[in-house]
């Protein structure tokens, strides 16, 4: 078995909501409520779930952009939360992030060449004289002309900006990238370009991704392994083909069935879920999905289903699978 690149164990992230006269921290948004998974080198792990299910929080906490509440995150065997600031800064270039919103992820007042090159300079990863060349090279690698190097972000379209952001991450030669819904804001035709870029970069550089998305069709296309999140927990994790052909969790099934298919001739049976995702401040007891689950029983209200292996790495958290 290959060594894992990212190892997440029992990760919890609660955001306090201040309340009470003195702002005593009474209540918590349980954004991530106990998540375990492993990403191996070269693997693309897709994280899927509805809005507010905690996908971004997982991604950001792994990068220690938030402090954790509980659990561990290991990057190449090193505990991300156990290192000091100095060391963290050293690790940073190896694990990068690509954002959803191409418009706000670039500083509007900085030339893109500087935006891409500044980290190299700050970390001393390249000679000053070489930086421009590296940046040009990276731009080309990400499908942009190197002539753009001195332009400002507002001169680019959304798709181009997303390439710039990817280039900024790639310039540091990372081994792991968290991509937080990188194509959600883009048009179909541009989406395809960016997804292909991700795929190319991954294949050429042997990168690993944590690819966050709510669009199952994109995840299926890009990821090798998929985790389904619901209200801060992973409810199902499996390899791509396994998950898409044999979904086990009722939520996964509903999710898959809800994706509209661009073919008017296919009329498939839909599982329409009742209601909406409950609040993560007061999540339902037992199985969090039970309030919307068509098969929920009393047991679901009492027992929390554990994420268990049902064979060949397919994990699921449901009492009735």
């Amino acid at each position: 078995m290959t060594e894992s690149l990212i190892e997440v164990n029992g990760l919890k992230k609660y955001f306090p909501i201040k309340s009470g006269v003195f702002g005593q921290k009474k209540q918590y948004v349980k954004a991530v409520d106990g998540v375990d998974f492993i990403i191996k080198p070269g693997e693309v792990f897709g994280l899927v779930g509805e809005s507010g299910s905690g996908k971004s929080t997982v991604g950001h906490t792994i990068l220690r952009l938030h402090e954790k509440t509980e659990g561990t995150v290991k990057f190449m065997g090193e505990d991300i939360f156990g290192v000091d600031k100095q060391r963290l800064r050293q690790i940073r270039p190896k694990m990068q992030l690509v954002f959803q919103d191409p418009y706000s992820s670039l500083n509007p007042r900085m030339r893109i060449g500087d935006a891409i090159g500044e980290a190299l300079m700050d970390h001393g990863l390249a000679d000053k004289g070489d930086i421009r060349d590296i940046v040009s090279e990276t731009l080309e690698k990400c499908g942009l002309s190197h002539h753009y190097i001195d332009r400002y972000p507002h001169e680019f379209s959304g798709g181009q900006r997303q390439r710039i952001v990817i280039a900024r991450a790639m310039a540091l030669n990372p081994t792991f990238i968290v991509a937080d819904e990188p194509v959600a804001a883009l048009d179909v035709s541009i989406q395809a370009q960016i997804i292909n870029l991700f795929k190319d970069l991954q294949e050429q550089n042997g990168l690993s991704y944590l690819f966050i998305s709510h669009d199952l069709s994109i995840v299926e296309h890009l990821c090798t392994k998929v985790g389904i999140m619901y209200l801060g927990n992973l409810v199902e994790v499996a390899d791509r083909t396994e998950l898409f052909t044999h979904p086990l969790h009722p939520y996964t099934k509903a999710l898959l069935s809800a994706v509209p298919i661009p073919d008017p001739t296919i009329k498939k049976e839909r599982i329409i879920l009742k209601g909406e995702i409950p609040s993560s401040v007061h999540p339902p007891s037992g199985c969090k999905f039970r309030t919307r689950c068509p098969f929920a029983t009393d047991r679901c209200a009492q027992e929390v289903p554990a994420l268990r292996d049902v064979g060949s790495g397919h994990q699921v958290a449901c009492h009735y699978v």
């Binding site: 950001h60 990068l63 952009l65 963290l88 800064r89 050293q90 690790i91 940073r92 270039p93 694990m95 990068q96 992030l97 954002f99 959803q100 919103d101 706000s104 992820s105 670039l106 500083n107 509007p108 007042r109 900085m110 500087d114 500044e118 980290a119 700050d122 970390h123 080309e140 690698k141 499908g143 942009l144 002309s145 753009y148 001195d150 332009r151 400002y152 507002h154 001169e155 680019f156 379209s157 798709g159 181009q160 952001v165 900024r168 991450a169 540091l172 370009q193 292909n196 870029l197 190319d200």
Partner: protein, 305 residues
């Protein structure tokens, strides 16, 4: 490699907009009112800073033979009660009023943005201290605070010619808390923007985060606030001078020129003493305000249509 190497920039906008300044200039040039104001301000500056060299009179020297003379070909704006040429004094006063306005703006901008940036960026206890201090200062009503400082600063041994620097300091001292709050607010917003998260992910140093990323983004706001501040400072200085706490004679400021003409007879029969400084203040301040408004249109994205 990906086939989609894009050749054209966004929306075919071939016009390169290299910097904030040029961009701003380009846009502001289209605004008639703002440009008119700008030209007027340039004129006022030349008038005040070059003008006195062209005047045959010294602003300070007293000549009791020609006191309170109405405008004539010799003294285009007449003379005052010490026989000084009003036009020359108007120009000298303008230097002071403009300097006070500009300098107090610069100081409060520096003070306000530095403190606001620290407070917004580091949060925690520096934030608490700075913001509480700002709260305290802001909860003391402005004019009493100015009066107080005016009286306090007169303790320092300063010649009247240099007293304006104190006035500037005072005005900036009163001005910074509001500005610090504003900058802090901006920085807090920017902090949450993805590009600031990116600086974290990239592992950039704090210095770079603040100076290359945060502060440059507050520049548009600062420019707008700065212009409006200049106007405010000129008005405040004139009010202080009127109350005898601002710039002190014989050094002239527009405010104390009006003040020294506040007797009934001056007011009724010697308009040349108070009309020129009054209008100088009015026109300068309105120009600055209109320019500031134009800049706001151009620079503040929230104001864009």
């Amino acid at each position: 490699m990906n086939s989609a190497t894009v050749k054209h920039a966004n929306h075919g906008q071939s016009t390169k907009r290299p910097s904030l300044w040029k961009d701003t200039w380009k846009k502001i040039r289209k605004k008639k009112l703002a440009m008119g104001s700008l030209y007027f301000l340039v004129f006022i500056f030349l008038f005040c800073f070059i003008g006195p060299f062209l005047s045959p009179y010294a602003g300070q020297s007293v000549n009791s033979a020609i006191i309170n003379q109405p405008p004539s070909s010799l003294h285009w704006m007449g003379t005052d009660k010490f026989g000084r040429d009003v036009l020359t004094r108007l120009m000298l006063a303008g230097r002071i009023s403009l300097t006070v306005g500009l300098a107090s703006m610069v100081i409060s901008i520096i003070l306000g943005s530095a403190l606001g940036a620290i407070s917004g960026y580091y949060r925690g206890w520096p934030d608490t201290i700075i913001m509480r201090l700002a709260d305290v200062l802001m909860s003391i009503p402005g004019l009493p605070l100015l009066l107080l400082m005016g009286a306090l600063l007169s303790e320092l041994k300063v010649e009247p010619e240099y007293r304006i620097y104190l006035v500037m300091l005072m005005l900036s001292f009163v001005g910074w808390p509001g500005l610090a709050r504003l900058v802090r607010g901006e920085i807090l917003t920017f902090r949450e923007q993805a590009f600031m998260k990116a600086t974290e992910v990239l592992g950039l140093k704090d210095r770079r985060k603040i100076f290359s990323h945060l502060l440059p983004n507050t520049v548009p706001l600062l420019i707008v606030v700065a212009t409006l501040n200049v106007a405010g400072a000129i008005l405040s200085e004139s009010a202080l001078s009127f109350l005898g706490l601002g710039v002190v004679p014989p050094a002239a400021s527009w405010g104390n020129m009006i003040d020294s003409a506040n007797s009934l007879i001056d007011f009724q029969q010697r308009p040349w003493l108070w009309v020129p400084p009054g209008f100088a203040i009015f026109l300068t301040v309105i120009s600055i305000n209109l320019l500031g408004d134009g800049l706001r249109d151009v620079l503040d994205p929230k104001m864009k249509q």
